[in-house]
Symmetry: C2
Subunit: 325 residues, 2 copies
Amino acid sequence: MNLGPGKEFDRIRAIIARVAEITGDGSGLGDDCALIPLGATTLALSIDSSVEDVHFRTDWLDFKEIGFRAAGSAFSDLAADGASPIGVLVSIGLPTADGKEGGDTDPAAEIMAGVATMARNLAARVLGGDLTRADKYSVDVCVLGTADHPVRRSGAREGDALWVTGYLGGAALALERLRDGQRMSTPLRNRFACPEPRIAAGRWLAQHGATAMIDISDGLSADAQHLSAASGVGIEINLEHIPCWEGVEAMAAVASGEEFELLVTMPPTFGDASASAFRGETGMELSRIGTCMRSTGGRRGGVRLLDRNKPVPLPQGYDHFASPQ
Amino acid sequence: MNLGPGKEFDRIRAIIARVAEITGDGSGLGDDCALIPLGATTLALSIDSSVEDVHFRTDWLDFKEIGFRAAGSAFSDLAADGASPIGVLVSIGLPTADGKEGGDTDPAAEIMAGVATMARNLAARVLGGDLTRADKYSVDVCVLGTADHPVRRSGAREGDALWVTGYLGGAALALERLRDGQRMSTPLRNRFACPEPRIAAGRWLAQHGATAMIDISDGLSADAQHLSAASGVGIEINLEHIPCWEGVEAMAAVASGEEFELLVTMPPTFGDASASAFRGETGMELSRIGTCMRSTGGRRGGVRLLDRNKPVPLPQGYDHFASPQ
């Protein structure tokens, strides 16, 4: 699996190589989900970790939101492969002095209540879990689903168009407001606190010929590079076509991470009429923002950002590993 | 799901109740694995967390051993349900100042090398993973398998005999030596450092009529209470029949946690000839240590420990949540 550039991804590449040394196979690693053909269907699995002071702060979110958000982020990986959720397993790390002795609600129970709410919203089940003592709160979520038309990152072809669901930049704006201790509208706060995995959208796109798909967790710019590297195509993105959250500049929208919208390539036959059908059936926006070109090679995966036909530099991706909140 | 007594399990009971409030169903929770019928087979999934200074110390184990042990502990849950492994997903928490900048091997890559070695030993695949910044090392492992004859904790019946694989007490003895900084033999050290999940044994027992099964992670005494509570039977254990690791007293063997041996109930038709067949086919010991009785009710699940027919008090279980190493 080819990933886009970045120190975090260099490290993952080295880890995959070390695993392949031992098992003789690292080919399936690095995508949003593991895909395992089983009988008449394909299982999709993903694991996703949320850690206090890296992914969330307990003074920004209540424990139910922390669980809801962690589960949503994991289910978003199923959406990115066009999968339907079956259920979720959760491992929770809990500080020993976490207040539950005081007769208040148990943070672990509230985190699981958030996970359960997200699961119920998606008609999925809470399958199991584990509790561990830890210095900080952590929520590791493993999701399971099935995909009749699994979509990887690697199937984009020259001539395919690049589309994105929803509006981008709200997550970064909400995070900025939280950091500054500013008030904000509920819809904006929810872009950070209660992200909705695009399960129905992912399934619809998979059924309608999606060639490659990824959820926007590292930022559109970085995730387009992953898709480009995995598919071996160049990608041109038109900045003026980026659907921006209200009050967000296009360059900020392109850099914003943990958006959990879907970035997808569709064949040339997928046009405006198909996009209208998508909107009608899912109630979501779908915007054409670029085109897949012949690969220009190289590690940067050939992603070019154009502002009214003038090349502009790609913004830095959202590096979960380097950016404390 | 009924669990045995203990503060850790009270907390888990409360969490399961909170989840059931929201989803309307908590029935499958609390067993070793989640079991999901799918097509002609049953999927088995489990998540298991290992945290630095709770489950391991970096001055006791190298990073490859940390990965191997964490994966082994998770695969042991598949063994306890009689499942065959398919693969493993791993979420790793890494301290930022973890030395990998110094040009040395990357701890994350070594942890994954240990996971990959365990997976290869069991003909399973490394399916995916996630990296997160954290204050301490943590390894969350989610395992996937299939079970043609899934065995839960809840199927034991009056008259079934209680059996256990291998020899007990080595894990606690090794841990004691590690704590005291004493040298020990490699086989003893491996009881803690490189536990082997009893996959083949679990599958054999499932195919030969096991009515209930659990892996010994909380200690035989506590795990017998889980099995008793889940099945609604009383259990009498004969202390003099406990197969002890060399140099370990029976009471210490009964209390020793993270043994990863299997505690299993077999129908009365399963006798000495069957146990011999097990030994011949798996190369492992199997000892009859007790009997399932009519339930005496109550939260202690009716587990009685007998030393040559004289009742003796049950030792305290191994509480992962209360006992730092």
